[in-house]
């Protein structure tokens, strides 16, 4: 698979040289191939959002480098191309919603890509349908509920049809069905169009559904592997303030009490079939 993102010895320092200097990334090395679905987990302040903002050149390395499709984010002439390829859904939708009505907001990205008006309309319509916000197309985004804003922010990035999508806690304010739908949509784009996905989350069960999980701690990647391997490392996860999905935890406890349950269970189906086989 061709490389989508390559990061070499990335350091990021906020407020460099001031009293409040914060070293947020401490030598991150990472390669993500096209078509991967990568989840990033890590405690508050571990550097996830900082890393995400490097993936489309919103932040630039204090040291080291980041390449997207072989384009180095440090060259300003690459930035436009990089942002066309990497769409980003921010942690707080207020930082993302720019226009005065929903429809214009979702159209903002595609317009910047210079697409023909008919194509823009098609994409906006489809993206709003996908997130269930079509009836709000004429509403001002800042007057929406928390979850409605988050849905519109996701629509804005979907409408750009980027080759890589970076989502920073996209479901934190969604109801259970909304969470499932967003995840299903993203997984669908990953599977059908080979869209690369980088998915930051505090929900361990969402990370368990990814192809690969990165664990961050204090500005570094401390574990990297398939979910089954990562969620088998309970001690590491607990030491750094994380944990395992609820059903994984239940399965471990049942196993400790002598029930014939595998060591690492990732979803309900696995647990049910081990108990009812």
């Amino acid at each position: 698979m061709p490389v989508m993102i390559e990061i070499h010895d990335l350091w990021h320092v906020y407020g460099s040289g001031t009293a409040g200097e914060v070293v947020a990334l401490k030598g991150v090395n990472l390669r993500i191939d096209q078509g991967e679905f990568v989840a990033i987990i890590g405690s508050n302040g571990s550097g996830k959002s900082t890393l995400a903002r490097h993936l489309n050149g919103l932040l630039l390395p204090t040291r080291g480098w980041v390449k997207v499709c072989n384009l180095d984010t440090r060259s300003s002439e690459h930035l436009q191309e990089i942002r066309r390829r990497v769409g980003m859904v921010f942690e707080n939708p207020d930082n993302q919603l720019v226009a005065t009505i929903v429809e214009e907001d979702v159209a903002f990205g595609p317009e910047n890509l210079g697409l023909p008006p008919a194509e823009i309309r098609r994409r906006v319509e489809q993206a709003l349908e996908t997130v269930g916000m079509a009836t709000y197309r004429n509403h001002p985004p800042h007057l929406l509920s928390g979850g409605q804003k988050q849905r519109v922010a996701i629509a804005g990035v979907l409408a750009m049809e980027p080759s890589c999508i970076v989502l920073d806690e996209p479901t934190s304010m969604l109801d259970p069905q909304g969470r499932r739908e967003v995840l299903r949509t993203i997984r669908g784009l990953n599977e059908s169009r080979g869209m690369t996905v980088v998915y930051i989350t505090h929900f361990m069960e969402e990370a368990a559904a990814a192809g690969r999980v990165l664990v961050m701690d204090d500005g570094r990647i401390v574990a990297d592997g398939p979910p089954r391997r990562i969620f088998g490392q309970t001690e590491l996860l607990e030491r750094i303030g994380l944990g395992v999905p609820p059903l994984t935890r239940l399965a471990r406890r049942l196993r400790m009490r002598g029930l014939p349950v595998p060591e690492v269970v990732l979803d309900a189906e696995e647990l049910v079939s081990s108990l009812c086989s």
């Binding site: 409605q148 969604l174 303030g241 239940l250 029930l259 309900a268």
Partner: protein, 286 residues
């Protein structure tokens, strides 16, 4: 009753083409010392209702009475109400405004007219309770990570030591340990000091673990209410409006479906463990 909401209707942008009726004739009673879960799908009116409870929003019609005071009727400032009812906003950025974390958390206590020594004690108590390290107090609240901001916003409300806490998605953005610790502290304050808590959340697991009673909003109306176990016993009705039951409860339903006659009304991992082990010991595998 500590809080009595009667036929509360709230209309946003009244008279404009975008008029939205966010709450429609809502009745709600909250007893002193209760821990109430408020759930509902996206846009169902939870935040709108939460903001009525400390007077940030005024009813379009209907009444909101807190400790016998009809706050819908009043035109005067609602200072005493805001001291009694602490509201943590859904997005912490909407709540932070001072230059340092310390000043932000100190804002409420200072407004209560406390002396600086007491303010300082409260700031240290509240920030350590939410897991913010000492060295973060001198930083700007706007240069923090999302979860760190959330912690500052929660600390700012706790530092006022309100008798009623209204928490609008307080755990969104917190890491798993932060979520467990902070919600655990709030549960302790509820149990030991008898504070009343209203928890708005999309996290069915948290609500199942903490709330004694649940009110479900749907399209601005009360759709369902009752003791936590009863409400989460109605999986189909909840799923029908975009909500769900906690993952362990859903698991128990699946086990029953496959022939293992476990109780389905469990709410936590610990209860599920006990129930499954009991059945296993009786050697009645499916």
């Amino acid at each position: 009753m500590l809080i009595e909401v009667t036929e509360l209707t709230h209309v946003y942008l009244r008279g404009s083409p975008l008029e939205v009726t966010a709450l429609r004739g809502v009745d709600l009673q909250v007893a002193e010392g209760e821990f109430l879960g408020l759930i509902g799908p996206t846009g169902s009116g939870k935040s709108t209702l939460a903001q009525h409870l400390n007077g940030l929003l005024r009813p379009t019609s209907g009444r909101v009475v807190v400790e016998g005071e009809d706050i819908s009727a009043k035109r005067k400032p609602l200072r005493s109400l805001r001291q009694k009812v602490g509201l943590v906003f859904q997005y912490p950025e909407h709540q932070l405004f001072e230059e340092t974390v310390y000043d932000d958390v100190a804002f409420g206590p200072r407004n209560l007219g406390l002396d600086e020594a007491e303010v300082k004690r409260r700031v240290h108590w509240a920030t350590s309770l939410v897991g913010l390290p000492e060295e973060m107090l001198s930083r700007s609240p706007f240069e923090l990570s999302g979860g760190q901001m959330r912690r500052v916003a929660i600390a700012g409300v706790l530092a006022m030591r309100p008798r009623v806490l209204v928490l609008d998605e307080p755990a969104a953005g917190l890491d798993p340990r932060g979520r467990r610790d902070i919600l655990g502290h709030i549960r302790k304050m509820h149990q030991k000091e008898g504070i009343t808590v209203i928890l708005v959340s999309h996290n069915m697991e948290d609500v199942a673990e903490l709330a004694q009673r649940i009110v479900v909003l749907h399209r601005g109306e009360v759709f369902l209410q009752g003791p936590t176990r009863k409400v989460f016993g109605q999986a189909e009705r909840l799923r029908g409006i975009g909500l769900d039951i906690p993952p362990v409860t859903a698991l128990m339903h699946q086990l029953r479906h496959r022939g293992l006659p476990v109780r389905a009304d469990v709410l936590t991992v610990e209860e599920a463990e006990q129930e499954i082990v009991n059945h296993w010991r009786q050697r009645r595998p499916c």
